[in-house]
């Protein structure tokens, strides 16, 4: 899919000089060494405030989508009362009786974030979203259009429209590499981007806390126990010492802390999803019916003409619930597939584990990432692995039949053991016609 979309992305003269191409593994990828990190903390809360401005002046919390008895995000006003994420609702209301609780609406947050990412593509073709509310913008070459880094960040702020309700907390960090840009964004204040020139990167990183490193809690604790509290403490150590203590992760930690590496922004390719929707005049909450509906929607989406020749890598189910809330589940398939059962299975597991919190009024299935499946043998090999694991032979039979129709013979063989311990090597294994 990437190959198709990139042609479109770089078709204009304006974009041509903005990004350079890398071709890892033969695929064209947009990248940029210099990054602007655009960060809107507590993005979901900001989204709620955008549609209900009165929340901005109240202590607010959003419930967890997995467990609606616990809190997911907590506003700064609620924090002043001691309310914290992951608290139970009872605890939170005990601390802050006027706390306003919001049902999670992940579909709305996702739409708002997609809109933000889409807006940023008007500034640069190299945009890499990493999590809800955090996006890296590649700014290599933007000086030709906007001038200094300050003007570039101004352009980003203007494009987003930071004055709009909910986005006043926008923070921007500008630096060489994503990590330093992210650290700069965490230190920036709303309306005051932090720009780290390349020659100051080491000096800037040195006093920053180790907590800015995105590493697991065990490594954090161990670094703390070793008395390493700032990135400068790590950078002063020999790289070999970190490697011997933490292995490969130690090398990455040292390189990030010392500014020895700059991780480039990799262009985000917005796929054009294939969507199938089902409206329920009488909202349903029954899991069996929801699972059945997912099966039907996946089958319908697979029949979409644009899907031909592509296998599905990522699928998303979303539901509009009664009383305005929503539910969303997504799955990335390890083995991209065009088999309806294989695609629907992880979504049905999510239905069982974390079902929608209310009755569903509208259910939507969207295929959002695709892998090319045009090569017949590749299709066979990939689908064989996944179908065999699922105990299904249907995909194999279809492919073998298709090959037989085209070539009058399948030309596909199994390798079978004949005399695996024979002292004569050519007698150990043989090929046998494959006929599922």
């Amino acid at each position: 899919m990437t190959g198709i979309r990139h042609d479109h992305w770089v078709s204009g003269d304006r974009n041509r000089h903005l990004a350079r191409y890398r071709r890892p593994h033969g695929d064209a990828t947009l990248s940029s060494d210099v990054a602007a990190c655009v960060w809107i903390p507590l993005f979901a809360l900001r989204c709620e405030e955008r549609r209900r401005p009165e929340l901005a002046t109240k202590p607010t919390a959003i419930l967890s989508a997995d467990n609606t008895r616990r809190l997911w995000l907590v506003s700064s006003r609620a924090r002043r009362f001691g309310v914290r994420p992951a608290m139970t609702v009872n605890q939170a209301v005990g601390l802050c009786p006027m706390l306003t609780l919001c049902e999670p609406d992940p579909v709305y947050y996702d739409e708002q974030f997609a809109s933000l990412v889409s807006t940023l593509t008007s500034i640069s073709p190299v945009v890499e979203p990493t999590e809800l509310g955090r996006v890296f913008v590649g700014v290599d070459g933007l000086e030709h259009l906007y001038g200094s880094p300050e003007r570039q960040t101004d352009a980003i702020v203007n494009a987003i429209g930071a004055k709009r309700p909910g986005y006043e907390t926008l923070r921007i960090g500008w630096a060489s590499g994503k990590f330093i840009a992210w650290v700069a964004a965490t230190r920036a204040k709303p309306g005051c981007p932090v720009i780290v020139p390349d020659h100051e990167r080491r000096a800037y990183l040195s006093p920053q806390p180790v907590a800015t490193l995105q590493i697991d809690s065990d490594t954090h604790r161990l670094l703390h126990q070793l008395g390493l509290t700032q990135l400068g403490d790590i950078a002063r150590l020999p790289e070999a010492a970190l490697v011997s203590q933490f292995g490969k992760e130690g090398r990455r930690i040292w390189q990030l802390a010392s500014g020895a590496t700059s991780d480039p922004v990799t262009g985000y390719v917005a796929p054009s999803p294939i969507v199938a929707t089902l409206d329920f005049p009488n909202p349903i909450a029954d899991r069996t019916m929801l699972s059945h509906s997912i099966d039907r929607l996946v089958e319908r989406a697979l029949r979409h003409p644009r899907r031909t020749g592509w296998r599905i890598q990522q699928v998303r189910a979303s539901a509009d619930l009664e009383q305005g809330a929503s539910w969303m589940a997504s799955a990335t398939l390890q083995d991209p597939s065009a088999d309806a059962g294989h695609i629907a299975a992880p979504l049905k597991v999510r239905i069982d584990q974390t079902p929608p919190t209310g009755a569903v009024e509208k259910l939507t299935i969207a295929f959002t990432e695709f892998v090319r499946g045009g090569d017949l043998l590749q299709l066979f090999a990939r689908d064989a692995a996944s179908a065999a694991r699922a105990g299904r032979q249907r995909a194999l039979r279809a492919v073998v039949n298709e090959i037989k129709v085209r070539f009058n013979r399948s030309g596909l063989y199994h390798i079978v053991e004949v005399h695996p311990w024979s002292r004569i090597p050519e007698r150990r294994y043989a090929l046998i016609d494959y006929d599922p």
């Binding site: 063989y413 390798i415 090597p425 050519e426 007698r427 043989a430 090929l431 046998i432 016609d433 006929d435």
Partner: protein
């Protein structure tokens, strides 16, 4: 006369894998392989991992082979053997 059963012919047919390929082998004074030439491409032997003999099936078509497990320059791993009845050398995948 037995009538034709009209059953389809068995499509399953075994095809041998890893058939030996004829090669030229250069030997040192002790009879150890020093280079393997296949399709005109000569590669020096950097290590001889193991040498063994196989004498089998003397009751029908005798097999008498001297095998060598070799590492070639560039890291390729190959099994070669000398057919002791003809003196010809062959190579196979390990």
């Amino acid at each position: 006369m037995v009538t034709h059963s009209r059953a389809p012919l068995r499509a399953h047919r075994l095809r041998p894998l890893n058939l030996p390929r004829p090669v030229d082998i250069a030997l040192d004074v002790h009879g150890q392989p020093t280079a393997v030439t296949e399709d005109g491409d000569a590669r020096a032997v950097v290590a001889v991992n193991e040498i063994w003999r196989v004498n089998d099936e003397w009751w029908r078509e005798p097999i008498a082979r001297r095998y060598a497990d070799l590492v070639l320059e560039g890291g390729a791993h190959v099994i070669v053997y000398e057919d002791l009845t003809t003196g010809q050398w062959f190579a196979q995948k390990p």
